[in-house]
Symmetry: C2
Subunit: 206 residues, 2 copies
């Protein structure tokens, strides 16, 4: 792509480094900014820089926060003895939206993925282990994605925690609410039969 302006080219190249944004999309976005009042670009740049420089991670659960300990961890009405282990902060937001979980979280910050060069040492695993070691945790709920990397991470963390005799569980896998059986994959359908729940319990959760 040949640009008539070096400034434009630089802006497009920087924009195109974001994941899922190619050069063409980047050019479209940058040209859009050019058509808008210059304040919009200033606000965007300012918001990104301030966020990058000033955002903190909760020192307890590693969730993103503006203060040292996040709102969830500092909320005394929540059950601090049940920890839900998730991959990243988007999962915290998703689970919080369900209003079904009143414990606290532990954000690993990714999953073990040798292809992407992510090993266990890059994840927040040791802090979880030391929390469990202290013996005050009742249950660890694994809420990781059901992929190769998610399962690997799950198993790795599980092995680290095994010796402390803490109760562990994973979120249920099964047919999504509203889904039709005939379109479900066999593994999920099979697991949903093996791990069936008493009908009275299924009524409760509605």
């Amino acid at each position: 792509m040949e640009f008539s302006s070096k400034l434009l080219e630089k802006a497009v190249n920087e924009m195109a480094q974001l994941p899922g944004i190619g050069k063409r999309t980047a050019l479209r976005l940058v040209l859009h900014l050019l058509k808008q009042p210059s304040e919009q670009t200033h606000y965007l740049s300012q918001a990104l820089t301030t966020m990058r420089d000033d955002v903190k991670f909760c020192k307890n659960c590693h969730n993103i926060s503006d203060v040292e300990v996040c709102e969830i961890c500092s909320n005394t009405s929540r059950n601090h003895k049940i920890i839900c282990v998730v991959e990243d902060i988007r999962d915290v937001m998703a689970i919080e939206n369900t209003n079904q979980f009143k414990g606290i979280y532990h954000v690993l910050g990714g999953k073990i993925s040798p292809i992407d060069g992510v090993g266990p040492s890059q994840l927040n695993i040791s802090t979880l282990v030391s929390k469990v070691k202290m013996g005050v945790i009742d249950e660890i709920i694994f809420a990781l994605s059901s992929t190769m990397e998610g399962d690997t991470t799950n198993f790795y963390v599980y092995k680290q925690l095994k010796e402390f005799n803490v109760k562990t569980s994973t979120i249920a896998r099964g047919i999504a609410v509203g889904d039709e059986l005939e379109y479900a994959d066999e593994v999920t359908l099979g697991r949903s039969i093996v791990q069936r729940v008493p009908f009275e319990i299924s009524l409760k959760n509605n």
Copy 2:
């Protein structure tokens, strides 16, 4: 969407103002920046702000440029008597990539679209008319998109130029090179038959 950090929320909201970027995508992009070294965010913000503040538009053709008159307009080896009228600078880049056009451009900066509140007065039409008025232009080539708005704009500009007796043409509409006839729409196929070209000419352009 509930955010655990106001800074994150602000960054996501600003990002989500870009066209085609929803809140979820914005969150993904912002979290990506958080995982990268902070320099990347600084470079991006800097590039966007500098571009927005310092970029110029060529005073001759309205193309984006770092100087007062763009490289194309200041290139004396190009034919300044043939002007190709395009919608925006992406079209200039696309035509330049073909290496088939050695005239200069005129960037309208959009198309007439009452729905989006864009009237003829917001486009760079008057400067084109005054160029033609001076009587030094041999040909105006319209290279606008073949949509309702593109055709309207084309016709409007054509009417403005008519009285000056300048030669006008539009880029050829037809079956794209590599396309199969059976999948072409009827209007395009019909037009490609009516506006057929001598076979010898079609050979020349390969």
